[in-house]
């Protein structure tokens, strides 16, 4: 029963996608109904399975997960089997994926202005620009419905299919398939407004950059398959296989096979979860509609990267444990921690509300990756789930803010960027629900103590880093946490507090329930989800609520990991965590509450000087990559391959062959065909004509000549006969 539902979970959104594309395209109401119905069914299935999983219990579920396979591809004597599986880790991931996807879908109905009139000059491929309506005798502009409404729901349904497929799969191949489907959908959705060149470029950039990661991931999968002979979790994640992989030497880098495979698969995560150095696509991905940003950057795609690296943790741990070979874990920890700090510094200098969240996502994913790198995979999983909720909340909240601002822009006719935080201000009074939910999300992101989920998960990562003795990682993450709180409060202060800085902000108003509803639901999770993982030794609150999350997830890899003892509880990381969170929030509020005009320079510019420019320009990484990678690649294509090889070499060869053929043809024609063949024919004809001309003379038309000839012939004949007769 459970496995049947598992198979169906990805199927509902896929069917919705197919139906919308094939049949429901013209009918907007039908499209969104099909899409939402599909994800609600998948959500219901997910909740049922989660409840069943809870009933069965973690230990039993880890031993015998809900598992079903089909024989998919005949190989040699056996089959390559594909299937679905639900173990404890997959169950929690399924939980947040189901909730966030449903919330985003419902939100999208309002975001794309369902029910609004068609725009005045709207065309497919550009964001809607507003429609003029008559209202009590005077005209004003209101937001218009998205022209490509149905297409959006088709694409996000496909996206949901990809993610569900990834989560329920029981082998790395279908995981990779879901991974790639989501890559395609991110391309389609980032480039949703395809007539904008910036959106097109951003879509290509996203796809190319994640592709780089995917190539290495595929290499890892191939190597894994050659070593193990299978890609299914059951065959890889068992003690014998792990031991074999950890003790086999890999052909490169002085690592074991497990280490190299883990590293290669991790590079896939670097691409998909936008870690440094493959982070460049994520901020540009903000070109897509906001629900897409929420989908890609909170609920699904980037979470898939972290899910992968947690899923293969036994491989990494086995590799790390074997002293004979180099371990991939330090590399992973370094990249994670570095990315966390790196992205947090950039976020501080961004003015676009969505860009701040984009860099924030990169930074938080760095947290999770760093946690896996130091061995704290349970903390990483915890942060993954809480982050999904509050980041989705923040993105949807920012979309609500932008919507409100656009309302104001249309109303006043001002030409301001509705996404620039400096053009906002005072929105707390205009958009209260958005404000309070955004505040909850922001506080969760900053790690506001006790009351938000982000605190529990972030604190756990810091505690593990400290407790396991990784000082560098601990302090890097602590500084990043301070910056996180700082830029979050900066964002909240600039957007919601103070007085409105432009006319558009004055005329902003709250968004409808289909948008604020999901915000409220996600806010509940952003507050409450942390309470399922309270450590026992926590002062006052420890032990009040059962510490459910960590043992639940840890049961997944029971028996597969090298032994390590319980971490000793220490107050130090807890104090650091609380102080950086509250300190960052306070400093952010103090610095930015004095901003009163939209064109005012950022207070940080004075403090940081030229460093501010570097941060605002993202450390010039885009320019570096353009110079190092894009221009050479373009040169390779346009100059080397096209101009030199294709036109210069290949076309030259063809032209030479053609030239010699032409010469040969001319020779054959003029020296052989014409004189000899034609000449022969002509000679026969001319000879015949000449003979005829000669013989024609006989036919004078005069009878007397004919008679003379007859006489001559008759005489000759007679003479001949006479001669022969007398002879005989």
């Amino acid at each position: 029963m459970e496995t049947k539902i598992l198979w169906l979970l990805p199927l509902f959104p896929l069917v919705a996608f197919a139906f919308i594309v094939l049949f429901a395209h013209r009918n907007r109401a039908l499209s969104h109904t099909l899409a939402i119905l599909a994800v609600v069914l998948s959500w219901a299935g997910s909740m049922f399975l989660f409840w069943r999983a809870l009933q069965v219990g973690a230990a039993h579920l880890a031993e015998e997960p809900f598992h079903s396979t089909v024989a998919w591809l005949p190989i040699g004597k056996g089959f390559f089997r594909l299937g679905v599986q639900l173990d404890p880790l997959a169950a929690v991931v399924l939980f947040f994926v189901a909730w966030t996807i449903v919330m985003i879908f419902v939100y999208s109905v309002g975001y794309h202005n369902y029910g609004a009139p068609e725009g005045d000059h709207d065309e497919k491929g550009l964001p809607p620009h507003g429609a003029t309506v008559e209202h009590h005798g005077h005209k004003h502009k209101v937001p218009s419905i998205e022209p490509m409404y149905s297409r959006f729901f088709a694409f996000v349904s496909l996206f949901a299919f990809g993610m569900y497929l990834l989560v329920v799969s029981d082998n790395l191949l279908t995981l990779f398939a879901g991974w790639e489907i989501m890559g395609l959908c991110s391309f389609l959705l980032i480039g949703f407004w395809f007539k904008k060149p910036s959106a097109r470029d951003a879509a290509i950039k996203a796809f190319m950059t994640t592709r780089v990661g995917d190539v290495f991931m595929l290499l890892g999968l191939a190597y894994l398959y050659t070593q193990v002979g299978s890609l299914s979790y059951a065959d890889i994640f068992n003690p014998e296989t792990l031991h074999h992989l950890a003790t086999t030497a890999a052909p490169a880098l002085g690592m074991s096979a497990a280490g190299l495979i883990g590293l290669l698969l991790f590079i896939g995560t670097v691409g998909k979860s936008a870690q440094w150095p493959l982070h460049v696509w994520l901020p540009d991905a903000m070109e897509g509609p906001t629900p897409v940003s929420a989908m890609i950057h909170a609920a699904t795609m980037v979470s898939a990267g972290v899910y992968l690296v947690i899923r293969i943790f036994p491989l990494l741990a086995a590799a790390g444990h074997e002293a004979a070979f180099a371990s991939p874990m330090p590399i992973i920890a370094f990249i994670g921690a570095f990315t966390a700090l790196f992205a947090a510094t950039i976020a501080v200098a961004q003015n676009d509300i969505k860009r701040v969240l984009a860099y924030s996502t990169i930074s938080q994913l760095g947290y999770m990756v760093a946690a896996v790198g130091i061995g704290a995979y349970v903390a990483a999983a915890f942060h993954l789930v809480t982050h999904a909720f509050f980041k989705a909340l923040l993105f949807l909240g920012s979309g609500s803010v932008i919507h409100g601002m656009e309302h104001g822009v249309l109303h006043t006719g001002e030409h301001v960027d509705p996404q620039d935080m400096y053009n906002m201000g005072g929105l707390k009074a205009k958009m209260p629900i958005t404000f309070w939910t955004f505040l909850i999300g922001g506080f969760a992101l900053s790690g506001f103590p006790v009351l938000t989920a982000g605190f529990w998960s972030k604190d756990e990562i810091l505690a593990e880093a400290y407790g396991l003795g990784h000082g560098g990682v601990f302090w890097t993450l602590a500084i990043a946490a301070f910056l996180t709180a700082f830029y979050t409060m900066r964002q909240i202060t600039l957007t919601f507090l103070g007085k409105p800085r432009t006319e558009a902000a004055v005329h902003a108003h709250e968004t409808p329930l289909t948008m604020t509803g999901p915000l409220m639901v996600l806010a509940v999770f952003a507050v409450a989800f942390g309470w399922v993982g309270v450590p026992e030794h926590f002062p006052v609150l420890g032990g009040l609520l059962p510490k459910w999350f960590q043992p639940w997830v840890a049961a997944t890899f029971e028996g597969l990991l090298p032994e390590h003892g319980e971490l000793e509880f220490s107050y130090f990381p807890l104090l650091v965590s609380i102080s950086v969170a509250l300190g960052g929030l306070l400093v952010g509020w103090l610095v930015y509450r004095g901003v009163q005009r939209a064109d005012q320079p950022d207070p940080l510019e004075g403090v940081l000087g030229p460093l501010y420019g570097v941060l605002e320009n993202k450390y010039y990484f885009d320019e570096l990559y353009t110079y190092l990678l894009v221009k050479p690649a373009y040169w390779l294509g346009a100059v080397f391959t096209f101009r030199w090889m294709d036109r210069g070499v290949i076309d030259r060869i063809l032209h030479t062959v053609a030239y010699f053929s032409w010469r040969l043809g001319n020779f054959l024609r003029n020296r052989i065909d014409l004189p000899i063949v034609n000449g022969l024919g002509d000679a026969v004809a001319e000879g015949t004509k000449g003979a005829g001309r000669l013989l024609r003379v006989v036919q004078s038309g005069r009878v007397q000549h004919y008679m003379l000839l007859a006489l001559v012939n008759a005489t000759a004949l007679l003479a001949l006969v006479y001669y022969f007769v007398t002879r005989s």
Partner: protein
Amino acid sequence: MVPLSWYLVVAALLFGIGVYGVLARRNAVAILIGLELMFNAVLINVVAFWRYLHPAQVPGLVFAVVIFAVAAAEVAVGLALFIAVYRRFGSSDVDDINLLKW
């Protein structure tokens, strides 16, 4: 009696003259005259052979009479033909009747 060969030679000479008249004269009537001479030569030949070889058999003489009659008929037909041709071509010169020329 005179030997037979004298008659045959005369007939041959007459025939030759007749041939010359047919082949070498331009006027159509002259050709007919030549034709007539040829007929008479043949007639002399036939009568000579009858008289000298089989004088008692009348069919020989009858044959000569038939030739005579045929000659006359032929000239009549020939003249009729010539008149029709003259009407068409407007000339009595046979060199002008050369439509079958290439």
